[in-house]
Amino acid sequence: MAERWHDEAWAKDMWWSGKTTRRKFLALTSTAAGALGATMLVPAPWREVFGQAKPYKIGVLQPLSGTGAAGGKTALVGTQMAVDRINHGGGINGRPIELVVADYESKPDVGRRKAEKLVLEDKVDVAEGGYLSNVCLACMPVFEENKTVWMIGVCLDTTITTTKCSRYVFRPFDYAPAQAVGFSPYLVSKLGKKWHVAFLDYAWGQSTRDAYIEQIKKNGGDVVGTTGVPLGTADMAPFVSKISGSFDGLFGIFFGPNAVSFTSAIYDLGLTKKYKYAGDGAIAESTHLPALGQKIEGFVGINRYIPVMDPPLNTPYHKKFFDQAVVELKKIDPSGPLPDRYVQSNFEAMNFLKLGMQKSRFRGREDTNNLIEALEGMEVKESDDFPQGDKAIRKEDHQAFLREFIFTIQNNKHKLLETIGKEKTLVPPACKFA
Amino acid sequence: MLILENVDAHYGKSHVLHGVSIEVRAGEVVGLLGRNGVGKTTTLKAIMGMARRTGGRITFEGRDLQGVPPHGLAGLGIAWVPEERRIFRLLTVLENLRTGLDRPGVTQARRDGLLEKVYAYFPILKERRNQAGGTLSGGEQQMLAIARAMVLEPKIILLDEPTEGLMPRMVAQIQEIVHALHRDGVAILLVEQNVPLTLDAAGRVYIMEKGAVQHHASAAELRADQRVIHDYLGV
């Protein structure tokens, strides 16, 4: 035994050959980053409580790196809040939940690979999550082929529950056509007849644009022009400068950092002074408000969730959800944002899975058919599980319908203008399961 | 002052120098003759730490050069005028000189003095001081390369084929410079193919063949008996 530890051969290896150490350090750092990004098995501290009960393995797909990382991280907060609550409350059918989180790096091909890994290698019982629509669309066939239920947490592209719908995939929250149906009467009657639609030029933006064009026209308004902006454009000013002419309102369809870019550009160029500014609620998520400051004042949007305590959201259920989400979000974001729809829909998606698994006495993937039948047509009431409000998953297309909130931004805060009941957002089903 | 003892060197896998031993004393001009490809340039590169040394020892004023980083040699007093001249082509003449002048510890007055000195030797460089190095003629580039080495105030200059490809008028000028440097007390290790020039400038001469020193004599001896030169260089 050497007298001092760094006389040991291994210590010399590590400390005295400086170059190797640094290279090793780099290799270790990147491996560690990779490992964190790939899969993290969330250990269950409550294991003992459940004794020998075998946990349900639930796969979660989220972008934890790349362009969608910020949103994916927020979305994961909702999932984990729900799982903690379920595990503390005795689990599902007496069994705890173990999450298998897969980072798909914001890329569709990686998403597909990670989905396959979840289903084939990790052998998850069911799956949840998804954030970027193009990734959701790429992953859906994997779940269909492997007959595994996927409860989507965020993806909004219309076709997920219409032309590309799958018997194994559920969307327990709203989609653009329902929002367009709910929002367009207000847009045309209260804000203006003539609209210019600016949208993020990819799957979700395009399908949402089409939904609004249809509904605005149906309500007696008109869309006089559209502008698509490519995903990830740092400065949108050159693209929005073309927006001119005579119309009443500018309707924006953006989310994440793109929403901040877009809003900054149109504000800086004086377009928000000339035209009314409305759009998808994703533009004014609470994580964007501090960055946008006065630039977003007066924006009118529609969203399934806004972080306010005004009626009808002044329920004990919502307060409980809200308070806990604030605490959990503070842990991942020192600026302490208020909860947004990504936290809400992932939280509720997990609770839908819970109810479905209880109702179908789900044991494992062999009971997938029973689980699907249990979820189809499921109606839930406003409760601790569903703080956003009542909702129902339609049997024909696995699309949920729920109430929507029309809001504006005042003093950098959400202000509720009108609540649209879920029956006023109905869109006929357009799905044929294979 | 500069001593090479049994130096071996490799280029990749080929063994280029086989136990080369050379000594240059302070203020001495030493010639290194030999045909193309016998390892003369490699010997200089081995001193500059640019050829992979695999054996032997190189010391300068008693100090082993093994541990000295390539950029530390100039500070010790070793300057290199490479065969290809290696002028910084996009830098002006003055900027080329500044790469040697702007070292720490050189006062403004000394810089001006050094600049004046090299301009006195090479008036054409003063004339062209704001011209890019790459636009100079071959002879002018050679002058600049030597001037650039001179501003380092070296104790020894490793001068690699300074007259290669130059017109006779230029060759004479280079010859003068070598003499002048010698008068100033700067040692020179002169690699050349030009025998008369070497025998004129150098005090002692080493003759290399196949990566090794084959003959060593004073210039006076060689001048008296040119057979050796014929044997090794075929001239």
């Binding site: 350090f25 990147s30 927020t74 454009t233 740092a234 400068s241 900054s264 994580t287 | 080329n96």
Partner: protein
């Protein structure tokens, strides 16, 4: 006509910011032959540091200077610890190393600052009327400031003692060493300067569109394009190419849809690679 003037202004403003990003990148490539994939992430990190300082002190100019300094130090450390040991190895290893650094920085930023978008409020308020638009003075100020910083860099490289060292090392690293120039130190210093340029661009661009973990990506991509189009390692070429490509994209936005307009820079890239592989503003050697 209105559109052409407006887009010229946009092209110049964006071109100047891009030129700042690209000048750091091309400086590093020119001297070390390192393709720094983490450049955009250093920009992002600089913007976050800047946003934090603006948040605490409210002083934009202080944020600009401190962010540049902090990221310069980080860049120097990064070069000394991860890239210096790789000098002389297969270029692929440095590419992988900088790629790894890029991932680490992105993860770090998300962990440190969270998913919220940060704001850097503009130091210059107000705007002027430009046809149907209001044009913010800040954008003009940004272009001028970027121009001044680039001019400062250029003067430093042209006349400064260390500037001459840097240029000499770029041209002939072996001869520079023989002249006594401490080349390893020059490498580290250049990496620090390049990083500082990236950070300063991040703080300058911050008020345009907020500060996010992903803001560096678009810049890395576009900066690479202009560095190739301008001639790898050629500072003047990169600056011209930045303005050229930005103007072209802006003009393209008049006639085609934005999605097609952003392809313009790729088209320029491909054409340059095909017909003038040494860069658009450098004559191809015969």
């Amino acid at each position: 006509m209105d559109q052409i003037l407006i887009q010229t202004l946009h092209g110049l403003v964006n071109g100047m910011v891009l030129a700042m990003v690209a000048s750091g990148l091309t400086l590093i490539f020119g001297i070390m032959d390192i393709v720094n994939f983490a450049h955009g992430d250093l920009l992002m990190l600089g913007a976050f540091v800047g946003a934090s300082i603006v948040g605490v002190t409210g002083n934009y100019w202080l944020a600009l200077v401190v962010a540049a300094l902090v990221i310069a130090i980080l860049g120097a450390l990064l070069q000394a610890t991860t890239l210096r040991p790789l000098i002389g190895r297969d270029p692929l290893t440095t590419i992988l190393a900088t790629f790894g650094v890029s991932l680490v920085i992105q993860k770090y930023a998300l962990w440190q600052w969270g998913p919220s978008v940060r704001q850097i409020s503009e130091p210059v308020r107000g705007n002027f009327t430009l046809f149907h638009l209001q044009y913010p003075w800040y954008r003009i100020a940004t272009a001028i400031l970027a121009g001044l910083i680039i001019a400062g860099l250029w003067l430093f490289l042209k006349y400064g003692k260390y500037g001459i060292w840097i240029r000499a090392t770029t041209q002939d690293r072996v001869m520079a060493q023989a002249m006594g120039i401490p080349v390893p130190l020059v490498y580290t210093a250049v990496f620090a300067i390049g990083s500082a340029m990236a950070a300063a661009s991040g703080v300058l661009f911050g008020p345009f569109a907020g500060v996010t973990q992903t803001m560096g990506f678009d810049f890395t991509l576009r900066a690479f394009i202009v560095v190739v189009v301008g001639g790898m390692g050629n500072l003047g070429g990169s600056i011209l190419a930045s303005i050229f490509v930005s103007l072209l994209e802006s003009y393209a936005a008049i006639v085609v849809s934005p999605a097609q307009a952003v392809i313009v820079s790729f088209v320029v890239l491909v054409l340059t690679m095909l017909f003038r592989p040494t860069g658009l503003f450098v004559p191809t050697p015969k």
